[in-house]
């Protein structure tokens, strides 16, 4: 414990703890049991962003965390406030994003009595948090908050929830903040085993068809510089997963784009023909591996990950190296020499030429969604791109060249529609210097469109780019391919005028219906410096291509581009 103690309420102590953890922003929504905390926030230095639905608070905290690497913080009241956070917490858990979720709870004496606005949120979130706490004594509060931030931000990062009964926030405490945490059941491994690293280095030098398969772990570990050095030194091509986008420069000659279901053909072919797969901060998700038995079947696999439970969970690994990706890659760099990959790289370049990502530009002036992504990329290559979930998400991953980590923010594991807009709010609050664009679909946007009020009230100039095709496009695509175009409950055309919606909130609304209106719309949105929504009316039945059908091997990849 440090410093002299001061007597204060639990609510005041909570803010002291947050202040000491370097928290500058909280995304939240008040409620009955949170009154003592909100009263303290009233004249606090910590910025509180009032959202319009608690789900948005959780996503915004995650967007903030992804844009900065800092732990995001959200706050919701007991009962429905807490349960509304659940989707956002699950999302952060699936994508391993550091977050502390604070929830109000009914007074201790009422817990278990089915009191007004009571929900057992620690029970509900047990399987979707890295850890959670119910504070039972105000004296425990500083230790618990210290531990919560420590657990969220170290090892394999993730969300931690702290449930705060109302009486805890009004009870008095002689406050002092602990210097360090003592958790005998928790000590993540950071330094990789050198023997394993040397073994990996030897395999690299023997290999003729190496592939680096990198994911979100590279970004969490801040290891993108080491990854690039390693790829260049050993001369191995690199594919990054959806959550790994930006972990390796999209314009680098060794870059192959994304693997898996909507990955590039050449990334998938390369994995399938590789003799050595160097997996870094990935978890062999089914959207990447396709049919697991045929995934990289002839390759030895090196798996670098901070979570030992990921090793050999989905595929059998030959050389596991548990630890921090940055530490391990920087050591691997010392030992590994060049692979014998000259012919291999030529072969991949051949595939890149033969099977590029492509779409067919219409003869008329209709807007292809891929074209919008390319135009956004040209106008603002340094933007932070946040996405919702669906076709637009895949196009944003395929057609934008991310050159820096933390510039692509998307819901990977959980696939949460409605994630992008609030996450973009969090990203813009964290990085006001950056252009932040929510690449959205007309379906996803409507899942959290109420947050227009948040960006207008707080003047957070996020740009929402709706790829409006009048469909829940990804589901429609599957219905087209696998259900004979029986578009069951996927048509949402003409249900809302998005420009008027934006204007109703006091935001700028722009509509683009022709190809030559795309670029001016983007430029106008950026120049305005205001919260802006662009309604891009796009080809309604464009498909995401290429595509690996569910259950197929990833080299069984189909072209689905729509001709005139």
């Amino acid at each position: 414990m440090t410093g002299s103690t001061e007597r204060m309420t639990g609510a005041r102590a909570l803010l002291e703890c947050l202040y000491r953890e370097g928290v500058d922003t909280i995304f939240g929504y008040p409620g009955g049991v949170l009154l003592p905390i909100y009263d303290e926030l009233y004249n606090s230095d910590i910025r509180h962003i009032l959202v319009r639905h608690e789900q948005a608070a959780a996503h915004a905290a995650e967007g903030y965390a992804r844009a900065t690497g800092k732990t995001g913080v959200c706050l919701a009241t007991s009962g429905p406030g807490a349960t509304n956070l659940v989707t956002g917490i699950a999302n952060a858990y699936m994508d391993s994003i550091p977050m502390v979720a604070l929830t109000g709870q009914v007074p201790s004496s009422l817990i278990g009595n089915d009191a007004f606005q009571e929900a057992n949120i620690t029970g509900i979130t047990m399987p979707i948090t890295k850890h959670n706490y119910l504070v039972q004594d105000v004296k425990e509060l500083p230790r618990i908050i210290k531990e919560a931030f420590h657990i969220a931000s170290t090892g394999r990062q993730g969300p931690v929830l702290v449930d705060l009964p109302k009486d805890i926030t009004t009870d008095m405490i002689d406050f002092s903040y602990p210097d360090k945490v003592e958790l005998r059941g928790y000590s993540p491994t950071y330094q990789g085993n050198l023997q394993q690293i040397k073994k990996a280095a030897a395999e690299i030098e023997k290999s003729s068809n190496p592939v680096i398969y990198a994911g979100g772990g590279v970004i969490s570990a801040g290891a993108s510089a080491e990854l690039m050095k390693l790829a260049e030194k050993i001369q191995a091509p690199v594919t990054t997963t959806l959550t790994g986008m930006g972990g390796f420069p999209g314009n680098h000659p060794l870059f192959m784009g994304m693997p898996g279901m909507h990955g590039t053909k050449y990334a998938n072919y390369a994995i399938q023909e590789s003799d050595l797969l160097i997996a870094v901060g990935v978890r062999f998700d089914d959207r990447v591996t396709g049919k697991i038995k045929s995934f990289a079947a002839s390759a030895k696999i090196i798996h670098i990950d901070i979570d030992p439970a990921e090793i050999s969970k989905n595929v059998k690994v030959d050389i596991p190296i548990v630890g921090d990706a940055k530490w391990i890659l920087s050591h691997l760099l010392k030992y590994a020499g060049k692979a014998r990959s000259e012919d291999w790289l030529k072969k991949i370049d051949g595939w890149k030429e033969q099977y590029p990502l492509h779409y067919i530009q219409p003869v008329g002036d209709e807007i292809k969604p891929q074209y919008i992504v390319e135009q956004i990329n040209e106008v603002c290559p340094d933007a932070i791109i946040v996405t919702e979930v669906g076709q637009h998400q895949m196009w944003a991953a395929q057609y934008f060249r991310y050159t820096e980590p933390r510039t692509f923010i998307s819901s990977g594991g959980l696939g949460t529609m409605g994630y992008g807009f609030p996450a973009a709010i969090g990203a813009k609050v964290a990085r006001p210097d950056k252009v932040v664009i929510d690449v959205s679909g007309d379906g996803s946007f409507q899942m959290n469109s109420q947050e227009m009020a948040t960006i207008v009230q707080n003047n957070i100039p996020v740009i929402i780019a709706i790829f409006n095709n009048g469909y829940l496009g990804m589901v429609r695509q599957w219905q087209e391919i696998f259900y004979e175009k029986r578009y069951s409950s996927t048509c949402i055309r003409d249900s809302v005028d998005f420009v008027k919606l934006a204007e109703a909130y006091g935001a700028l609304g722009i509509r683009a219906t022709k190809r030559d209106e795309v670029r001016p719309a983007i430029e106008r949105a950026i120049a305005s410096g205001r919260p802006t929504l662009i309604d891009f009316i796009v080809e309604c039945e464009e498909n995401v291509s290429p595509m690996v059908p569910a259950g197929a091997a990833i080299n069984e990849i189909l072209d689905l581009e729509r001709k005139e």
Binding site: M126, K130, G185, A309, S312
Partner: protein
């Protein structure tokens, strides 16, 4: 294949729910689970008997270790472990067969801990096969109720799970 895991956990509320929830969520089967405090009152020991091949066991162990409240997980090998279970059997009995049951109880070095006009309660401690053998022999008399504790186990010799 069955494994006996000795798991040291923080002696805190909610720990059992975390462990049981992890097993349920990931689809692992628990044959038995016992929990009780250890020589250190802040630590509880769970003895979990789990069914699965080596890969399942590896995942179970790793997922247990991921829980913040789990301090240590050990897979106890039968050859260097002593394990015991206790069972209580309430057996139908009267004057006509009471001595016959008492003979069986003696052979098993079990004990009779309650006698009533129409029933008696037998207490037995031992490994699983012993308890099951006794159950087989008592069944013809009529087992009205029975309860088993699940397995508890310790590693043999001076070296423990916590050291």
């Amino acid at each position: 294949m069955r494994h006996t895991l000795s798991v040291l956990v923080e002696n805190r509320h909610g720990v059992l729910a975390r462990v049981a929830g992890m097993f349920a969520r990931r689809g692992y089967n628990i044959d038995s689970l016992t929990v009780g405090v250890t020589e250190d009152p802040t630590i509880s020991r769970m003895t979990i008997v789990v069914r699965g091949d080596d890969e399942v066991l590896e995942q179970v162990t790793k997922q247990l270790n991921k829980l913040i409240d789990v301090i240590r997980v050990s897979d106890l090998k039968a050859e260097d472990t002593v394990e015991r279970e206790m069972a209580l059997f309430k057996v139908s009995s009267d004057v006509s067969n009471r001595s016959e049951i008492m003979q069986i109880v003696d052979i098993f070095r079990a004990r009779i801990i309650d006698v009533a006009p129409k029933s008696m309660i037998v207490e037995v401690t031992g490994d699983e096969t012993k308890i099951e053998a006794l159950e087989q022999l008592l069944r013809p008399f009529g087992i009205k109720e029975m309860v088993r504790t699940g397995k508890v186990a310790l590693r043999r010799g001076a070296k423990g799970v916590s050291s």
